[in-house]
Each structure stands twice: as C-alpha cells, then as structure tokens.
C-alpha cells in the first residue's frame, strides 16, 4: 500500500503537465484546477505516507522500499525504485507543502480573473489593462498573464521532477529528476523570453549548472563502475563503503569514496549555487516570483543539499571522527566561504529579490558547511526550516512586488517595483504580507526561541563548535550576524518609514490566493523548529522531545549523538541575531535613498566583480578562440585551404579520367553494354513478373520445398 502510493506520488503532476499542454491550454481555470488538483493529490499521498511512516517503529531501519529491474546491463540489471527513509520523508513533507502552497499562490500572482491586457504579448510580463468602472472612470488594473496555462504546465513538470528526485532509491532516477528540474528551471527563468535579461539569465543558469552536472555524472559513472550498483542502500552497506574508502585513486591521494563524493558534490555546487558556481542564482530572479520561491529557494536548490545529505555515508566513509577528510574539508570550506561571501553581497543589494537570492546562497552554504563538518541532522534540519521560511519570504516579496505593481499601474508611476528604495511604509498598506514577511525574516535571522531558523542555525553552530572547528564556527557566526543585519535592512526599507514613491503610496493588499499560502507557510516557519529543540537546552530542552534528531538520525547506520551543550554557541547565536536585527533597524531607520546608504560599496554592490571576472576569464577567451582561432585560422585558413587544393587536384584528375577512361571504357563498354544486356534479359525475363500474388507465392513455395528437401537430403547424405 505505502509502496504503491510512493510509486504514484510523482505521477499526478506529470499527467497534469501533459493534459495541460495538450488539451487545456486554452482554458485557464481548467489548467490551474488540474495543476492544483495534481499537486493536491501528491500532497495527500505524501501526508498519508508520512503519517504512516511515523507509525513505523525504528523507521530508519525499516524503510519503505520497492524496486524492479529496469535496464539489462550485460549479466546484471540496473535497478530503479522508490525509497522512503526518515530523511526523504521529511524532505517529502516540506516539498509537498511548499509546492502546493506555491501552486495556489501562482493563481493570484498571475492575476487570474483579471482582464487580458491590450498590449500584452506572449513572452513579456503582463502590462496592465484598462477597465471602465460603472461611473465611467477608466482605471489601469493588472492584467492576466498571457501564457497562464503554460506556466502551470511547467511547474507541474517541475513538481514531477522534484518528487521523482526525492522518492528515488538510486542515483539514476535521482539524476533524471535532477535534470528535469534543470530543464524546468531553464524554461521558467526564461518564461518571459522576450525580455533579454530573462533570456540571458536562463541560458546562464542552464550552462552554469551544466558544469556541475558533468562532474556529477562523472562521479555517478565512477561509482557505478566501482560498485556495480546505483541504489543507495546497496552502496551504503558497510562492506561496500569500506572497500570504497580503502581504494586509493591517482587523484590528489583521495580514496575512491572521497573522489566520488567530491565529484558528486560539484553537482551540488552547481545546483545549490555554491561558490564558484553561484553566479546563476541571482540572475535567475528574472523569472516569475513563484518560480524563484519554488525552484530557487525551496526545492530545486535544496535538492543539491539533499543530494550531499543522501551521499553523506559515502562522503564520510573514511572519516575517523576527528580530522576532516580532504573531501569533507573541501565541502566545509566551500560551504562556509559561500555563507559568508554571499551574506556580504546581500547587504549591498537594493533589489528585494536579489537580497533574498544571495541570502539563499548564504543559507545553503550553512547547510553545506554542516554536512562538511559531519553534522548530518543539523544540515537536514536547516534544509527543512529554510525551505519553509525562504519560500515564505520569496512569496512575501512577490506579494510586495505585486502590490507595488498594482500601485504603479494605478498611479502611473514608472518606478521599479522591485527596488527597495522605492518602497517604504508598506506595513499599513499590506498588513498580512508585512506580518508574514516579518515572521519569515525573523526565522531567517534566527530570532531566538520562537522561530524555526533559530533552532536549526543554532544546531549547526553548536555542531561546528562542538567538533572543534573554530574557524568555521567564527565565519558562520559572522555570516549569521550579516544575515540578521540585511534581513532587518530589507524589512525596514520595505515596510517602515514613509512611502518613497507613488507606487508605494497606492500599493494594496494582494488577493487571498496569495495571502493564504503566506499564512500557512508562516505557521511552519515558526512551528517546525520546536520539533528539534536539543535535549540539553536550558529550561526548554526536554519539554518537547528532540523528535527530529531521533527520527532523522535513524537514517544513518550509527545514529549520530547530539553535540554536548555549551553556552558559547548558544550565546553567540542569540547575540548575533539580536544585535544584527537591532543594527539593521538602527542604521536604516532613517535612510531614504541609495545615496545615504553607507553600504553601497562598489565592491559589494558589484558582487566582488565575479561576473566580470568570469566574463573576462572564460566567456571572452572562449569567444576569442571560437572567432579568431577556430573560425579564422583553423576553419578558413587550414581546413578551407586544404579543401581548395584537394578540389583543384580533383578537378584535374577528373578531367583526365573523363577523357581517357570514362568516355571510351565506361560509357562505351560498360555503360551501354550493360544497358544492352539488361534490356535483352529484361525483355526475356519479364514474363515472370506476372503481377499476380499467387503466382509469386507458388513459385517461392516451390523453391522453398525444393531447398528444404535438398538440405534435408544433403544433411543426411553428408552426415
């Protein structure tokens, strides 16, 4: 029963994708009804199976798994199947919730129910429609998205990819889901394909993640050749892991497990936008906001972390518990560096979504760093809580932008609706959005005790501290401080103070389809953290059992122990979040324009010039090589030159042949001669071609009988 549900989970969105694409493209209501119905079915299945999984004692040992032979590879089979263990169960839980909420949100975001705009065209965001009310006044109101159904088809396909990835029991189908999501990310970032920025961002995202995917595929191939299987539970058997950990490879002295882990981790670097492949994620904000929330905050980028979490036993195969292995060091370094690096960029961004994008990169860095120091449960915990509050924040920012656009259309203000310096005072205009955004922001900053972000981030810090990684701890604490700072900066600029533009003046609250998901996600952003309060936490510890740790920790062969409680990390995380929040409010309470913002440092504002460096180092040389070297030198000079001389030679030889061989010998003797022979024989043989089917059959069967008889007798005569 559970197995059947598990198999069926990804299917409804896929079916909805095809049906919307093929049948209901014209009908908006039917399209979103189908999409949400499909997401709802998958959600329902997830909830059923999640509740059932909770009832299984020792679930980490008694997982739900089902598989079958799929592709014959010589003497063995490539198996595919589905698997539900604690880690994938909690992942499935948040994936189902966020996907369903974002589907619902998309209805409102794409202005369902509004008239179509007069000047709207496919590939561009809707530009508003003029309507005349009963008093005869003409208003400009938001208009419905021209490619409404297509959007729902794409996100359905995306949901299929995500569900496939999470329920997979092997790297192969996981990779399939991974790539489907990559495709959807490309399609949805470039959803408004007539905008050059969106188009370029889509290509950039696709190309950048492809770099990671190639390495990941290499890793998978290596793993398959080394173990002969891609199923997680096969690979994670202690025997296999031991063999992998003791095999030495010629690369940097890494063990096979380490090398495979590193290669697969590079896939994560691409997908989860870690330094140095992080450049695509900020640009990806060109897509519609639900896409940013779903793909680029809650699910797809989390999939990268999910992958390293999945491969955790492999990565830590040769980990002795004290010194980090080279692979783990690399992972921890990249994660920590990205967390700090992205946080510094985020403080200088003015675009409301860009801030969140860098914040996402930074938070993913936290998780990666947690995996790097061996803090399995902390990474999963932060993965789940982050998905909830970051989806909430993105949806909130979408709601803000939507409200701003409404105000802009109403007042005719041309101001950029995404620039925070054009906002201000939205607290009163959009109270629901404000409160939920505040909850999300506090969760992101790790506001103590109440919010989920506090518990998960605190656990990461405690693990880093407890395992003695001082540098990582310090860097992550700094990043956490910056996080709180820029979050409060964002909230202050957006919601407090007086309105700084006409658009902000006339902004209005968004429809219920957008606010209800906000409220639901806000509940999770607060409440989910209480499931993972450490046992030894003063006062609160022990009131609620640390359910999350016990449940998720059971996935591993040897369940991890909680780190020893220590006041230093606790005070640190308390301090950085409160001080950061306070500073953010203090500094920006009076800032009115970018000129008075002292943090508009060019270095940070321009994201450390990484895009420019890549452009100079990679794109330009590649263009130069293709233009100067390949085209002008290789193609035109050498290859064409060769071809031309060959052509000249051939021309000469051809002339010679024609005059001395072709005309007399071939034409005269062979050509005409053959024709004559064919003609004569054809004339004589055409009587056989009666055109009567039975005649042919009689002849062929007669011949068959004769041949059979001959063979039979020859066989016996010779034998």
């Amino acid at each position: 029963m559970e197995k059947i549900i598990l198999w069926l989970l990804p299917l409804p969105p896929l079916l909805a994708f095809f049906v919307i694409l093929v049948l209901t493209n014209k009908n908006r209501a039917l399209s979103h009804g189908l999409a949400i119905g499909a997401a709802g079915l998958s959600w329902l299945g997830t909830m059923i199976i999640f509740v059932r999984a909770l009832g299984i004692p020792q679930f980490g040992k008694n997982v739900i798994e089902s598989g079958f032979n799929w592709l014959p590879t010589g003497s063995t089979w490539l198996q595919i199947g589905v698997l539900l263990d604690p880690t994938s169960a909690v992942t499935l839980f948040f994936v189902a919730w966020t996907i369903l909420m974002i589907f619902v949100y998309s209805i409102g975001y794409h202005n369902y129910g509004q008239p179509a705009g007069e000047h709207d065209q496919k590939g561009l965001p809707p530009g508003g429609a003029m309507v005349t009310d009963e008093h005869g006044h003409a208003h400009k109101v938001p208009s419905v998205e021209p490619m409404y159904s297509r959007f729902f088809a794409f996100i359905c396909l995306f949901a299929f990819g995500m569900y496939t990835l999470v329920v997979s029991n092997n790297l192969l189908t996981l990779f399939v889901g991974w790539e489907i999501m990559g495709l959807c990310s490309y399609l949805l970032i470039g959803f408004w394909y007539a905008k050059p920025a969106a188009r370029d961002a889509a290509v950039k995202a696709f190309m950048t993640t492809r770099v990671g995917d190639v390495f990941m595929l290499l890793g998978i191939a290596f793993l398959y050749s080394a173990t002969g299987t891609l199923s997680f539970r096969e690979i994670f058997r202690p025997v296999v892991l031991h063999v992998l950990a003791t095999t030495v490879t010629p690369f940097f002295g890494l063990s096979a497990a380490g090398l495979i882990g590193l290669l697969i981790f590079i896939g994560t670097v691409g997908k989860s936008a870690q330094f140095p492949l992080h450049v695509w994620l900020p640009d990806a904000m060109e897509g519609p906001t639900p896409v940013s929330a779903m793909i680029h905050a809650a699910t797809m980028v989390s999939a990268g972390v999910y992958l390293v979490v999945r491969m955790f036993p492999l990565i830590t195969a040769d980990f002795n518990g004290q010194t980090l292995t080279p692979t783990m060091s690399a992972i921890a370094f990249i994660g920590t560096f990205t967390a700090l690096f992205a946080a510094t960029i985020a403080v200088a961004q003015n675009d409301i979504k860009k801030v969140l994008a860098y914040s996402t990169i930074s938070q993913l860095g936290f998780m990666i760093a947690a995996v790097g120091v061996g803090a399995y449960v902390a990474a999963v915990f932060h993965l789940v809580t982050h998905a909830f509050f970051k989806a909430l924040l993105f949806l909130g920012s979408g709601s803000v932008i939507h409200g701003m656009q409404h105000g802009a259309l109403h007042s005719g203000d041309e101001a950029d609706p995404q620039d925070m310096f054009n906002m201000g005072g939205l607290r009163r205009k959009m109270p629901l959005t404000f409160w939920t955004f505040l909850i999300g922001g506090f969760a992101l900053s790790g506001f103590p005790i109440l919010t989920a972000g506090f518990w998960s981030k605190d656990e990461i810090l405690a693990e880093a501290f407890g395992n003695g990684h001082w540098v990582i701890f310090a860097a992550l604490a700094t990043a956490a401080f910056l996080t709180a700072f820029y979050t409060m900066r964002q909230i202050t600029l957006t919601f407090f103070g007086p309105p700084r533009s006409q658009a902000a003046e006339h902004a209005s609250e968004t429809p219920w389809t957008m606010t209800v998901p906000l409220i639901v996600l806000a509940v999770f952003a607060v409440g989910f953290g209480w499931l993972g309060i450490p046992e030894q936490f003063p006062i609160l510890g022990g009131i609620l059992p640390n359910w999350f740790h016990a449940f998720v920790g059971g996935t591993l062969q040897t369940p991890p122990t909680e780190p020893l409680f220590n006041f230093i990390p606790l005070l640190t995380s308390l301090g950085v979040s409160l001080i950061g929040l306070f500073c953010g409010w203090w500094v920006y309470r009076g800032v009115r324009s970018p000129q008075t913002d002292f943090l508009q440092i060019p270095l940070l504002k321009n994201k450390y010039y990484i895009d420019e460096i890549y452009n100079r180092l990679l794109v330009k040389p590649a263009m130069w090589i293709s233009e100067q070297f390949t085209y002008l030198f290789l193609d035109r000079t050498i290859i064409d030159g060769l071809l031309h001389s060959v052509a000249r030679l051939a021309l000469f030889l051809g002339g010679a042949f024609r005059n001395y061989v072709d005309k007399p010998v071939i034409n005269g003797l062979i050509g005409d001669g053959t024709a004559t022979v064919v003609k004569v024989s054809g004339f004589n043989l055409r009587k056989i071609q009666a055109g009567r089917i039975q005649y042919y059959m009689i002849v062929s069967i007669t011949v068959l009988v004769i041949i059979a008889a001959l063979l039979y007798f020859l066989h016996f005569l010779l034998a």
Binding site: F68, I698, T702, V705
Partner: protein, 170 residues
C-alpha cells in the same frame, strides 16, 4: 479407443472436412460458414487440451468477430457473389501438389521424431492454468511486453482498417 480419442477423431474429421469445404466450395458465404465450423472444431481441440480459456476465446474472437467480419465483407462486395463458374484458379493442381508434398514431408519429419507418440503429462496439482496464464500475460517477468505490443498492434490495425476502408470523402 478411449472417449478422448473418439472426441478427438470426431473433431479432427470435422475440422478437416470443413477446411476442405472452405477451400473448394464455390459459394463464398458457405466458405465463411464452413470456416466457422472448422474453427469450432479447433475450439473443441483446445478444450480437450485443457486450454479452456483459449477454447472460449477461439469462439469469441474467431467465430464471433472474425467470421462475422468475413460474412460482412463478402456481403459488402456483393457483386462477386454471382457464381462465375469455378472459384479456383485454372492451375489448381500445382498448389494441390505442393500441399500434398508439404504434408508428406511434414508427416515424414513428425513421425521420424523420437518420442512423438508420447501422451500428455498430468497438469501439476494446485496449478490453476487460467490464473497462471493471466499472471504470465501481465507480469514483467512474463510476457507483459509482447502482450502490450499486441495491444498496440490491434490499435494500429483498428485505426488503419478504418482509414483504409472509409475512403476519401469528396
């Protein structure tokens, strides 16, 4: 002579006589009806062979569907029903000779095989052949793929037949 053998011989005679009538009778509708008789005999053989499902399907598919289709086709091409003398080709003796030759060859080969007059083993106790057949048809380890391919073939034939037979509307 056991009852089995008697029933077998009766149906064998029915099959062969009907089959002969199918190929030599002048009236096409009679030929189609004789075909029904021959196929019915084959269904009886299936029943003797403990293949009850096939026996019934033989009646449903062949007699119910194919034979009806034949009769329809014969009637739709009604002009050909007028007896134009013989329905057999002038050189019918060549096919007849071929048939006899092949029959002789086959019989020679069959009777020359070792153990060809064996009798059937008992069906193992507890084996429900119908259930086993159903499982074999749909289980991936069995014949699910050929089964699906056959269904696709039927669909293609259906579409093709409709397309070909309906003709262009001017």
């Amino acid at each position: 002579m056991t009852p089995d053998q008697i029933i077998f011989l009766i149906s064998a005679v029915l099959i062969l006589v009907s089959a002969l009538m199918v190929v030599i009778t002048h009236n096409l509708v009679h030929a189609a009806l004789w075909l029904v008789a021959a196929l019915f005999g084959v269904a009886v053989l299936f029943a003797i062979l403990n293949a009850s499902f096939l026996a019934v399907v033989q009646v449903v598919v062949y007699i119910g569907a194919i034979a009806v289709l034949f009769v329809f086709a014969v009637m739709l091409t009604r002009k050909e029903l007028r007896d134009r003398g013989t329905q057999t080709r002038a050189n019918w003796w060549i096919p007849a000779l071929l048939g006899v030759l092949i029959l002789a060859g086959l019989a020679y080969l069959i009777l020359g095989q070792p153990d060809v007059s064996r009798t059937a083993p008992a069906i193992p106790a507890g084996v429900d052949t119908l259930r086993a057949l159903g499982t074999a048809l749909v289980s991936p380890d069995g014949y699910a793929l050929p089964f699906e391919a056959a269904s696709v073939l039927l669909l293609a034939a259906l579409v093709g037949a409709v397309y070909v037979a309906v003709g262009r509307k001017s």
